[in-house]
């Protein structure tokens, strides 16, 4: 079995690992401690100290703090409980007319704004474009991933987290607050 060092994984993340080495990684049996190496690298790269429990995306992490599990951007901006779709706590810019769409899609490359809107989710902290959705009006934002964190740590990694949280989508609760 090939062995992959942390430095290789760093290069992979940065897109600079040479192609033969990437191929080797693809073809070989996987390194069983990849998750730990990955978290270690990510932890070194963020300017804050809270423990990363799961990298949701390359920019957003679920972190642990005093029993709470919070979605946090690389830059440090926080989006709240990981069981609420973080998009509801982001900034949003929506392109739903020809003028705004034409900034991205010119001429005949432009989609029809009566059929689709392009939603850009922006981090209020660093201005990163975290996700883009292209959906017709009326589509609720996708809750891309609600992890079952306790099962993951307890049963898949074999090291339970010190506290537990119910595996439940809490987004409807926030929306209910807004409606009230």
């Amino acid at each position: 079995m090939a062995e992959f060092h942390k430095a290789d994984v760093e290069k992979l993340i940065d897109g600079v690992l040479p192609w033969p080495a990437v191929q080797d990684m693809m073809k070989s049996a996987k390194d069983t401690d990849r998750f730990d190496k990955y978290i270690e690298i990510l932890q070194e790269r963020v300017p804050w100290d809270e423990q990363i429990l799961l990298p949701l995306t390359p920019s957003l992490f679920i972190i642990a703090r005093h029993g709470a599990r919070v979605v946090k951007c690389r830059c440090g901006h926080e989006f709240g409980d990981y069981r609420v779709n973080w998009k509801l706590s982001a900034l949003i810019h929506v392109r739903d007319d020809e003028e705004s769409l034409s900034k991205v899609y010119k001429g005949r490359e432009m989609p029809d704004p009566t059929w689709v809107q392009v939603r850009e989710y922006i981090c209020p902290g660093c201005g990163a474009q975290l996700e883009v959705e292209a959906v017709p009006r009326g589509c609720p934002p996708d809750f891309d991933f609600l992890p079952d964190l306790d099962t993951f740590y307890r049963e898949w990694l074999g090291r339970p987290l010190p506290d537990t949280a119910q595996f439940k989508d809490l987004t409807p609760d926030l929306v209910a607050e807004w409606r009230a």
Binding site: V94, D96, Y105, G107, E133, P136, F145, P147, D148, P172
Partner: protein
């Protein structure tokens, strides 16, 4: 003791799986454990036997689709139908072929008409699990010393299915009666020969019977070759070994799929919305009911449980359409196995992974489960919505692999498959209807560490191949004026999708004109895909064009510039260089031309690139400049979307200081123009309630999705705070 019937074996296999969680109750893999070398070797021999069948079959066939595009597949199955291994070719089919064999058993065919060496069985009927009429599925039992030990199977995509419009991409079919020739779970031959009436039916019910029969003989030849080689394998390794090992290969593959999910994914719930348009209002259609614009809702929800079990749901799928774009649940699952094999279970590609996941039955009356409600729905090109639904799978698992750090396995969303079909008398004087293989080479999805590959990928086959231009010119009365990488066609992100290409054809040599159908085998014209992974912009919609009754012959004689590429989106070359009585620079696709195209008419047919991932401001400026210098991106996209500022020194060079500054300005501009989500939600829900600026197709889609999946409807109403009885 009498040998159990196949039906009894099926039932006892089901029981064993239920009791042990292992296929065939195999709690260990004794052949593998005892002699792993032979086990591996025989696997590769059997795989090569399937590939040999593919070589033989495609050569025997005469159709351009098989010969030039290799759009066919052969497989070896267990007696109860599960695929053991498969050839190269269209890997969307092993699941279908396995389900068909199982269905023959379930329908009691073992008793009557019985299974015998040399029998040929076929199906292409979606009502019995087929995908669509041009895909002929065949199976032949393999006997060894009077015992049925396996099946050989094949699928090939014929050039004309005899449907209401010529060719094989029947998106315009209004109902199943227009889907063309029907082989409904039939025994079509014995003693390695087709019944004479089989050929008679092909001759009376397809437009290109020589090619369709050529494909039939190709399927048969491949299956016979496969059977003979399997006999040789059994002669060498013994029947006991063959019977044991072939089962173990399937269980082994199931275990592999489960273990990949467990070691490389994360349990939880994933949601991915996806949509696809079919804008046909005002277009050339067959029946009045088709004068309508449609939007498909193609949602994918995936739940991964503690045991690494994967459950797919299509809750919210929209209703059937009066076009050939509805798919049976059996066929959809087969498509899913194809996608799964790309992403999860590709070590030994067979039926095993199907036992590692479940697909919740799609809402009855939806495009993904049409027949319970809409029995006459057409499946002319049932792949169309299915492949776009499957595209979600790449992004969904790409996201999961990222979370575990397996960046090398990540992928963004797929490209689309817009087809080109021609029908008419060729330059050689005979009638031909058929598909070019242009669409079988898209850009590949962006990966977690680099861009996708240009023109090297196809969602339904690992052997992407758009065929040789020169060979395509031999079959069809067209001449290639261009086949170029299309700049900026891979979305905009940190890593872009592989770029697509644009084919420019001139009609040439037809004595009578030809039909051109710009077909939908999975494309979009009005919308972009919902693949803005990690902040990328999705690729633009598919946008073909054509010119009829042109001045191209005069341009050639005067040696004036012609057209070899699409050109800029705001000023396409077809508008600047060509004059035509009927110039369709921006038609809504798909479409069938109203008139026959004549010699010197021009078609500009783009094949899409794949999807990008990551914030476009995070793209390495050097990669942007490399693309600029190759002509693969435009200065506008480089500067405005990627924020990369350049200077010229014979070629583009990065201005690092200006780029850094421009990028930080763009980030500030983003924050300035964006609003808190709740603020947008407050305004947006009023617009949703008023159906403001929503196309009829959008409202109709939401209406059917919410009716067919009441829970989905309730969630949508609740999110926008709409009344409980609100309908779009």
């Amino acid at each position: 003791m009498a040998e159990p019937t196949l039906l009894e074996q099926l039932r006892s296999n089901e029981k064993a799986f239920e009791e042990t969680g292992n296929l065939f109750g195999l709690q260990s893999l004794p052949r593998k454990e005892k002699d792993p070398g032979t086990y591996e070797a025989v696997w590769h021999i059997l795989s090569n036997v399937c590939n040999l069948a593919w070589e033989v079959g495609c050569k025997v066939s005469s159709s351009p689709i098989a010969v030039e595009g290799g759009d066919a597949l052969w497989a070896l199955h267990l007696p109860t139908g599960e695929a053991i291994c498969v050839s190269r070719g269209i890997t969307a089919h092993p699941g279908l072929l396995a389900a068909m064999i199982r269905n023959f058993i379930e329908l009691g065919y073992e008793e009557y008409p019985g299974f015998n060496q040399g029998d040929i069985f076929e199906n292409n009927d979606p009502h019995y699990g087929g995908i669509h009429s041009p895909d002929f599925d065949m199976a032949m039992p393999i006997f060894y010393e009077d015992k049925l030990v396996a099946w050989a199977s094949c699928v090939s995509h014929v050039s004309d299915s005899g449907s209401v419009t010529p060719g094989s991409v029947g998106f315009l079919n209004p109902d199943c009666f227009s889907d063309g020739i029907c082989i409904s779970m039939e025994k079509v031959g014995e003693n390695d020969a087709f019944y004479p009436w089989y050929e008679k039916r092909v001759r009376s019910r397809t437009r290109t019977p020589d090619f369709v029969m050529g494909d039939a003989r190709g399927r048969l030849a491949g299956c016979v070759a496969l059977r003979e080689r399997v006999h040789a394998v059994i002669d060498k390794y013994g029947l006991d070994f063959f019977v044991d090992a072939t089962k173990e290969y399937v269980e082994d593959s199931r275990r592999y799929a489960v273990s990949r999910v467990r070691t490389q994914c994360v349990p939880g719930r994933i949601r991915k919305s996806q949509f696809k348009d079919l804008a046909m209002k005002g277009q050339h259609v067959i029946l009045n009911k088709q004068d309508v614009d449609c939007l498909f809702n193609l949602p994918m929800e995936v739940e991964i449980d503690a045991d690494a079990g994967v459950r797919f749901s299509l809750r919210g799928a929209s209703g059937t359409v009066p076009f050939g774009e509805n798919i049976s649940p059996t066929a959809l699952k087969s498509g899913l196995l194809n996608g799964y094999s790309h992403i999860i279970g590709f070590d030994m590609f067979n039926s095993g992974p199907e036992a590692s996941w479940e697909v919740e039955t799609a809402p009855a009356g939806s495009w993904a489960n049409p027949f319970e409600v809409d029995y006459t729905a057409s499946s002319g090109v049932a792949w169309a919505p299915a492949v776009m639904w499957m595209s979600n799978l790449y992004e969904v698992f790409g996201r999961l692999f990222q979370m575990r750090g397996f960046v090398e396995e990540m992928a963004a969303g797929a490209a689309t498959t817009m087809t080109a079909e021609f029908a008419g008398v060729t330059q050689l004087g005979y009638y031909l209807a058929g598909l070019t293989l242009e669409q079988a080479s898209n850009g590949s999805p962006a990966r977690g560490f680099t861009d996708g590959e240009n023109s090297a990928w196809c969602i339904y086959t690992p052997n992407a191949d758009f065929g040789n231009a020169e060979v395509t010119e031999l079959y069809y009365p067209i001449m290639y004026l261009g086949r170029n990488i299309e700049p900026d066609s891979g979305g905009y992100g940190r890593f872009r999708g592989g770029l697509g290409h644009t084919a420019v054809w001139m009609v040439y040599g037809t004595p009578s004109g030809i039909e051109y159908q710009c077909g939908c085998a999975g494309m979009r014209s009005k919308i972009v895909s919902n693949h803005g992974m990690y902040g990328a912009y999705p690729t633009w919609p598919d946008a073909p064009s054509y010119a009829h009754d042109t001045n191209v012959q005069e341009l050639i004689e005067a040696q004036k510039p012609l057209i070899h590429e699409r050109g800029p989106a705001t000023k396409p070359t077809i508008e600047t260089n060509i004059e035509a009585a009927d110039l369709q620079a921006n038609p809504s696709a798909p479409f069938l031309t109203r008139e026959l195209l004549q010699n010197y008419d021009i078609i500009v047919h783009p094949i899409s690139g794949a999807q990008a991932m990551g914030d476009p401001l995070e793209r390495d400026p050097e990669s942007v400049v490399e693309d600029l210098n190759k002509g693969w991106t435009s200065p506008r996209v480089a500067s405005e979307i990627h924020g990369v500022q350049t200077t010229m020194n014979g070629e583009y060079v990065v201005d690092s200081v200006a780029t850094k500054q421009r990028r930080s300005e763009i980030r500030e501009e983003r924050k300035a123009r964006a609003v808190p989500f709740k603020e947008w939600w407050d305004a947006e829900r009023q617009k949703v309630a008023a159906k403001e600026n929503m196309a009829d197709a959008v409202c109709a889609m939401w209406r059917s999705s919410m009716q067919l999946s009441p829970e989905y409807g309730a969630e949508l109403r609740s999110f926008w705070d709409l009344p409980d009885d609100f309908e779009f």
